[in-house]
Amino acid sequence: MSVHLLDRELDRLEGLWSDGLSETYRSYLDAVDHFDPELRAKLALAAALIESGIRLQGVGGRAAPPTTLLMGDLCLARGSRLLADNAPLPVQVAFARAIEATSAAAAAEQAPPALRQLLRKSLTATL
């Protein structure tokens, strides 16, 4: 799985990639084994972007400053677009529900669910 396949998807996020996104991406690679080989990198990146986006925004903790929030928004939007273009519907739905659960917990000032675990589970969602 080659990272250069993802170059287009890292536009504007190069700094984040070298600042931890690449490690987050690698942590999802073993969770996408069951997908077609050409989809694996994109789906692992989608999961990594969503995890990084939520963390950048400070969901469940102290609010991120505006420019960081916007970078987090871009991560979430790009992750969602990657899912829309490459993931089966149940996986798209599971990812959205994972974000809903995390943000609803934050809004209620409750302990958030374990995000990475939730997103890894989302990658196995079926109908």
């Binding site: 504007r12 609010a63 790009r78 273009d85 798209q92 739905v93 809004a107 000032e109």
Partner: protein
């Protein structure tokens, strides 16, 4: 469009005047020109067009009784000679024979939304073996007037928004409900609904679901924008960030971003999902550009156009594209509508910029200046030979009430506002031309009207 008319009869023979009910079906469906087809679903119920005059109806009843008397012998009533006779089979040979003299079908023409009937004509379902519960199949075909359904379409979106918010946890639903209930123009959902009526798969409920999801997505981006711009009010009410703090605002925005993308995905049209996902990404990327450009405020026209294409026009374009895709419109129509939406969205943003300089808008004049929000009138005023130097000097310093007021005065006194207005109208003209190249099944005037009104406003 097809469904069933149901009614009950009270007598053995009865002429049920169904003219008004069929008229109501035509009105509800918005059929302007075409036909209504009716078919009896029973072998002892006929259809007839004649005069609703009680003595005449008694004459008809007498005629039927003379031709096929109820007390006569009918082979159909000799149950010993028939097979598979139900235990409750009535002796009704006379009713079947009478029905043969009538018709089981009727087709009425519709012109200008009205049933075509002569002065004395009424439409009857003729009960021949009552009392019973009866059903008629009804189909309408022809040209449907979509414009007159506007209120119904809007009501569907409002209901769908309320339904979605009802099932969400209160900490996120409550702030979003306040924002949704505060109003807004609902242009994006309206575009989804209109364009979803263009192709062969015109399903108003699915279109309303998609339209509501698009509106939730738009509102989610507004909640984050308001935090970024440090806005205290939107639609006349405190912003989520101002009322409940930035942490809650970020969580609510994320929740509805995710929920909207899920609702869109669950509609089950991959083209729709991709179109809106791309638009959302463009919105987010341009927000970063927007904030970055505030360092060189007010910026230039090229940068401005780049930002608003992503920030505003992309979601307008995707709203039109996704509605058309949902309806199964042809690729040519989908592309024409996408371009229409993009041009309209750009024009809309320019018109929105002008509102900042309108004392009758209900918003404080110069709010965009105070928040250093990208604004085309301000860019043009800064380029103006007469007022430009003072505008640039004021914008380079800190912006208190006096400075903001003076900048607004300079913009209003310059040629900036007429120039922006002319440019927005030119974009609407270009958007309208996109519609002229394709067949839109009578929808073109509605879209043109919406486009013109979206940029011709004072508030």
């Amino acid at each position: 469009m097809s469904h069933r008319l149901e009614f009950a009869t009270a007598h053995a023979t009865e002429f049920v005047d169904i003219t008004d009910r069929v008229r109501e079906e035509v009105r509800r469906a918005g059929l302007r020109n075409g036909r209504v087809h009716l078919q009896s679903l029973h072998t002892t119920l006929g259809l007839a067009v004649n005069e609703n005059e009680p003595l005449l109806l008694r004459d008809f009843e007498g005629l039927l009784d003379r031709i096929a008397p109820a007390g006569a012998a009918y082979e159909h009533d000799d149950f010993a000679r028939r097979f598979d006779v139900p235990i409750d089979e009535p002796a009704n040979g006379h009713a079947h024979c009478r029905q043969l003299l009538l018709s089981a079908f009727a087709t009425l023409m519709v012109e200008d939304g009205e049933l075509v009937l002569g002065r004395w004509q009424s439409l009857f379902a003729v009960e021949l073996d009552g009392p019973r519960r009866r059903q008629l199949a009804l189909q309408l075909d022809g040209e449907f007037a979509r414009g007159i359904e506007k209120e119904s379409l809007q009501a569907l979106v409002e209901l769908e928004l309320a339904r979605q918010l009802m099932v969400d946890p209160e900490p996120v639903a409550s702030p979003m409900r306040r924002l949704v209930e505060a109003g807004g123009k609902r242009l994006r959902p309206r575009l989804v609904q209109l364009t979803a009526g263009i192709g062969p798969h015109n399903d108003a409920l699915r279109a309303a679901e998609l339209a509501a999801a698009v509106e939730l997505l738009h509102n989610a981006t507004l909640i984050h924008d308001d935090y970024v711009d440090e806005s205290t009010h939107r639609r006349g009410r405190p912003t989520v960030a101002a009322a409940e703090g930035p942490e809650r605002a970020i969580a609510v925005g994320d929740y509805y971003f995710a929920k909207a993308t899920r609702l869109i995905a669950q509609i089950g049209n991959p083209g729709v999902t991709s179109a809106l996902a791309e638009a959302l990404e463009a919105v987010c990327a341009s927000q970063i550009d927007d904030v970055a450009m505030r360092g060189s405020y007010p910026g230039d026209r090229d940068s401005y156009m780049q930002v608003i294409r992503g920030k505003t026009a992309s979601l307008f374009a995707a709203a039109c594209e996704s509605g058309a895709l949902l309806s199964g419109a042809t690729p040519q129509v989908v592309e024409a509508l996408r371009r229409f939406g993009e041009l309209l969205g750009t024009a809309f943003q320019m018109a929105d910029d002008m509102v900042d300089f309108s004392p009758s808008s209900g918003k404080p004049v110069g709010l965009d200046i105070r928040q250093r929000v990208l604004s085309l009138p301000l860019i043009y005023a800064a380029e103006d030979r007469v007022v430009g130097p003072e505008v640039r000097r004021l914008l380079a310093g800190s912006l208190g009430d006096a400075e903001v007021g003076r900048v607004a005065e300079l913009v209003i006194s310059s040629e900036a506002l007429p120039r922006v207005r002319q440019e927005a109208q030119g974009l609407v003209d270009a958007a309208v031309r996109e519609l002229e190249a394709v067949e839109l099944d009578g929808l073109q005037p509605v879209l043109v009207g919406l486009a013109r009104s979206a940029v011709d406003r004072n508030s």
